[in-house]
């Protein structure tokens, strides 16, 4: 047993957190196969759409955007999980975020990958989608920077590169750990991925500085991404879309749905990978409280927007408002309110109900509710614009439904494969956190701790002054 005087059991931690990476059970392959089938179905549906024309989807005049853009906004929204948890909590030095950061950052990267596919899937001519890239060409044209879709292109790419960097940088030391602990093909595989990491103090310093810089930079990028996505709608004179509230509304909704998705992922990980000790209840409780906060914020935004529209009494906007509350969309609307607020609120606010099961149920309903919210922002407004002669309806086809289901399966598949190849909890960060906790002289139960200031050379003498003993019971 390898313990250090600060009582970190390296062997145990390494064993527990590398166990999922070390071997793949039959259940893993079964899950991958099932998810892979659904993803394959989605890819076939998309192939059919490419071959037959975009008309096999349910979009029509006047509802020119439907399921695909709903999915686009939904998945980009889910991608805000990683940023909030990792970056903001990293900057706030909250200790309980340590086991959670990588789970969250993975969601961000994969949700972005999936979400960024939809602007291509929904195009009428996806084979020329590359015209959005600014490059000198023979057409004598650059992209129209005045279009929010071009802003989308820049913002989503920046966020994707940023969050991929944010994810991969702290994995490098864990890849080095895998390289040292495994043998055979895994040793070579992780050896390549570790990029020659040795763990010199200079490497650690550069890595931590890079992480700190990335945490500061990624937060405004994430805010700008969903703001720009919201401006896809707000920059048009469509009733209800043309609202200044859209930018903060979407960002808040994104963080809301992102935390819910994160909780769902963490509950599955905790159960299937037996990580009960490393994802303690307090992590879920804190995330549950954040989810409650975001739920209240969501209600605030929805109320503010609807009150303003109803009070302002502009005919076109009020028509759409009644369409969602009393008209054909009312079932979806009230389901959404129930899923986003009525069900999660008691589950998260009442301490007795705020168990892991309760938080899980609340998160699932929030994910469903937020998908409905995106749908209800897009479709009712388009179906009832200004001229009554041009009003219409929307009904999705099997192509859109299959592709939507396939994205959920793709997310799960990517996540499962990632958790199999990479330790899903950041091992070195966990150890640092445990070391910091045990080195402070406060009680065992405290979880979040402010990092003590560096006082220079004599720090270890201060520790000896606290009375540390090594495993043999000898004072240092």
């Amino acid at each position: 047993m390898t313990t250090t005087p600060d009582q970190i059991n390296h062997d145990l931690i390494n064993h527990d957190l590398l166990r999922p990476v070390a071997r793949a059970s039959a259940r893993f392959f079964l899950v991958v196969a099932m998810l892979g089938l659904v993803v394959l179905a989605g890819l076939s549906a998309w192939g059919y759409q490419l071959y037959s024309g975009i008309g096999v989807a349910g979009i029509r005049r006047p509802v020119f955007w439907g399921f695909y853009i709903t999915n686009f906004v939904f998945w980009i929204g889910i991608s805000h999980a990683g940023t909030l948890i990792s970056a903001i909590l990293r900057l706030a030095n909250a200790g309980w975020r340590r086991p959670v950061t990588r789970c969250a950052e993975v969601i961000t990267v994969f949700a972005l990958c999936i979400g960024a596919m939809f602007p291509v899937i929904h195009l009428g001519r996806p084979w020329v989608a590359f015209w959005l890239v600014p490059y000198p060409n023979e057409r004598g044209l650059w992209p129209n920077y005045r279009s929010p879709l071009v802003w989308d292109f820049f913002a989503i790419n920046t966020y994707l590169i940023g969050s991929a960097t944010f994810l991969i940088l702290p994995i490098i030391p864990d890849f080095a750990l895998c390289r040292d602990k495994f043998s055979g093909w895994r040793k070579t595989f992780y050896g390549v991925l570790a990029l020659g990491w040795r763990g010199t103090q200079r490497q650690w310093h550069r890595l931590e500085t890079a992480m700190h810089i990335m945490a500061i930079v990624i937060i405004p990028v994430a805010v700008s991404v969903h703001t720009i996505v919201s401006w896809d709608f707000a920059m048009t004179p469509v009733p209800i879309w043309h609202s200044t509230i859209f930018a903060p509304y979407f960002v808040a909704g994104a963080i809301f749905s992102g935390i819910a998705a994160l909780i769902v992922a963490m509950v599955f990980l905790r159960h299937f990978l037996h990580l009960e000790e490393y994802l303690p209840t307090v992590c879920f409780e804190n995330l549950g409280k954040l989810l409650l906060l975001m739920s209240l914020l969501w209600v605030y935004f929805v109320f503010a927007e609807r009150l303003t529209i109803w009070y302002g009494n502009q005919p076109a906007e009020v028509a759409v408002l009644w369409l969602t509350q009393n008209g054909p969309y009312r079932y979806l609307f009230w389901t959404m309110v129930a899923c986003n607020f009525l069900i999660p609120f008691p589950l998260l606010a009442i301490k007795k109900l705020r168990t892991i099961t309760g938080i899980f149920v609340a998160s699932i309903t929030v994910v469903v509710g937020m998908w409905l919210e995106r749908y209800l922002i897009i479709v009712p407004s388009l179906s009832r614009k200004f001229l009554p002669y041009a009003w219409g309806t929307y009904r999705p086809t099997w192509v859109e439904i299959t592709i939507t289901a396939a994205t959920f399966a793709a997310m799960a598949l990517l996540y499962v494969v990632f958790a199999k190849l990479v330790p899903i909890i950041s091992i070195w960060e966990l150890k640092v956190g445990m070391r910091e906790e045990s080195e402070s002289s406060s009680s065992v139960g405290a979880v979040s701790r402010v990092r003590p200031t560096r006082s220079g050379r004599g720090e270890h003498e201060t520790l000896a002054g606290v009375g540390f003993k090594n495993s043999q019971g000898v004072k240092l």
Binding site: W142, G196, R198, Q201, L207
Partner: protein, 170 residues
């Protein structure tokens, strides 16, 4: 695996490693020749602090400014070179130039951070310097860059630490 030959000792924890580094420095070794390798960062120990460099954030700021300039030039020059009128808007609207400039500034900051990390950490230099798999178990490696004119006292101190490590903790 061939590696730049080096002298090192394995310390069971950070306090011992700090004492070893202090002893080596007292014996006459230079700070740049000492390498400390660990599986976690030890910012609060002195041996983890003298590799710090305040330059990195400024390099990132410089990269970000460059990215911003590129973004601004991209929008203003390209829209002016092929001016196309849309919706009564000016050819290069200020707000929109700002959005694209902002995104490219952030992208440049991210890429600069990555580049500076890759180049100055440095990564990809696996064979240079000592390494021992015991580091993965939480031990700390303290090594000396072997040179011909290494003071003998340094070698003695290192040998004493190695013996002590082999004998086990005191």
């Amino acid at each position: 695996m061939s590696r730049t030959a080096s002298l090192y000792t394995i310390c069971p924890d950070a306090a011992v490693a700090q004492r070893t580094v202090d002893a080596l420095l007292t014996a006459g070794a230079r700070s740049e020749d000492i390498t400390v390798i660990s599986a976690e960062p030890f910012d609060r120990y002195e041996f983890g602090q003298h590799e710090e460099s305040p330059l990195m954030p400024w390099l990132v700021v410089l990269g970000a400014i460059l990215g911003g300039v590129v973004g601004f030039l991209l929008v203003s020059l390209t829209t002016k070179s092929y001016p196309i009128v849309t919706g009564g808007m000016p050819i290069t609207p200020g707000w929109i130039t700002g959005i694209i400039t902002y995104e490219l500034t952030m992208l440049a900051a991210i890429l600069t951070t990555l580049l500076v990390l890759l180049l100055t950490a440095p990564l990809f230099r696996w064979r240079q310097g000592p390494y021992d798999v015991q580091v993965a178990d939480g031990k700390i490696l303290v090594g000396i860059n072997p040179q011909r004119n290494l003071p003998d006292k340094v070698r003695e101190v290192l040998k004493a630490c190695q013996d002590r490590a082999e004998r086990g903790p005191v």
